[in-house]
Assembly symmetry: C2
Homo-oligomer: 286 residues x 2
Amino acid sequence: MNVIKSLKEMAKIAQEPSNSKNTIGFIPTMGALHNGHLALIRQARKENKRVIVSIFINPKQFTNESDLMKYPRTIEQDVELIQDFVDFIFIPSACEIYPQDFQLSISVGAHTHDLEGEFRPGHFEGMATVVLKLLNIIRPDRAYFGLKDYQQFIVVSQMVKDFNIDTKIIGVPTIREISGLAMSSRNTRLSDKEKEISTRIYGILQKAKSVILNGAQNPQDIEKFVASELVKLPKSKVEYVAVRSLQLAKMKVIESDMVILVAVYIGEVRLIDNIIVPSGIQGADH
Amino acid sequence: MNVIKSLKEMAKIAQEPSNSKNTIGFIPTMGALHNGHLALIRQARKENKRVIVSIFINPKQFTNESDLMKYPRTIEQDVELIQDFVDFIFIPSACEIYPQDFQLSISVGAHTHDLEGEFRPGHFEGMATVVLKLLNIIRPDRAYFGLKDYQQFIVVSQMVKDFNIDTKIIGVPTIREISGLAMSSRNTRLSDKEKEISTRIYGILQKAKSVILNGAQNPQDIEKFVASELVKLPKSKVEYVAVRSLQLAKMKVIESDMVILVAVYIGEVRLIDNIIVPSGIQGADH
């Protein structure tokens, strides 16, 4: 059985034998694994000698208790689903990750109050704290994050750069259902009707992309358009719509490749999605 | 010449060859090296195969600009003093340590507003941030800190534990001049007269220690006694006097080994010192 629970044991296994060819690819997850996670594992498999997946529902990154309580817990199915594809599954306990006298946390600069940070205060601090701990325990060569959580990918990339951590952070494109709905552990909480509604979010993002590719210049106009389409969805409540540079800087006019990010409730379930749009401007990376 | 300036080069040198016998002892400093630093180097020499000293005046841990400006800068003498005793001296540039888009910092829980944290807001966040970066670059087996900066030693120990960093933090007893004055880079800013006054600080701490060893029970009484002695010193301004557990917890009665910590200005120069006192209580570590 390749499930590891103790921090010490995980560190020991991950760090020896530390010959340079024995590369480690690491995928931190909160469980409720789906095809999106399998895509991360697949890419890690290609690029590393060993693959380690962690499953830890990190209480520090939930803004409210009820979201934490409702977060799906499917450890047995998770292990069943991935155990043949990975070398180790790391399932630490909350009391070992956060002992009683735990004191430290990380501030993440501008992201603390922006986008997800605005609507989920403390989320990125908690996420960054646990990711830093996991990176220190496992010391992977590469760590894989889904681009569905785009801002998370940016925050982790910035953290690794700012703290001089010797791990390459790799963003893996969002995996979608045939309907276009971005895979998410939270999708299991949608009713059939809500799920059908949710599939239209990506369609709206694609429409916005084509508006930009057809020459729209003003990010605010795009944001208004996307918001107005989202509010038309039954049972929806829009939290934010933002057109940003790939580094999540605000733009007055479209002047670089960009990402359109949305957060919207469908019924009781909060969904996020995004789409990357090339600017077509010379020098931009497309 | 064993001086390294580039982060990349330092990381490369420190991390290879990483066979388990090639242990690294690391001493982070802000330069203006004195016998206290040499004691750290001596101990690191005994316990490790290789010794690396960093010299970096960390702007983020200074609370006010003028203290940063006045901090002694003696890089050439520093290199001269230690180069034959260490394997590498790491002197990174501020712009490589803190590039323009640097965003992250560390919160240090209770210490943020306690003792040094109260009088030097931001100090421990800045200190912890740079120490974390240096530990990530060098990945030492052991890192050495002087116990003169007792709270710093506690904060770094907590950080390494909380973030699962694989480095042992070692506190080295304060080195004093024959007069009793704790060695400090700031001592060079004292006039002869002020230096003579400053030597009496340790005498007061020793007197308090003997009062405790003679059976005093009340930490507040000890604090009052020490403060009253310190204010009698010419040109003195007392910032804090605290009797705490070795983990820096407040105590209502003396019930464990303890440390008496003081911060006092003599003229324009801020000095800190401390003394560890065994409680004599059974089970305590003395």
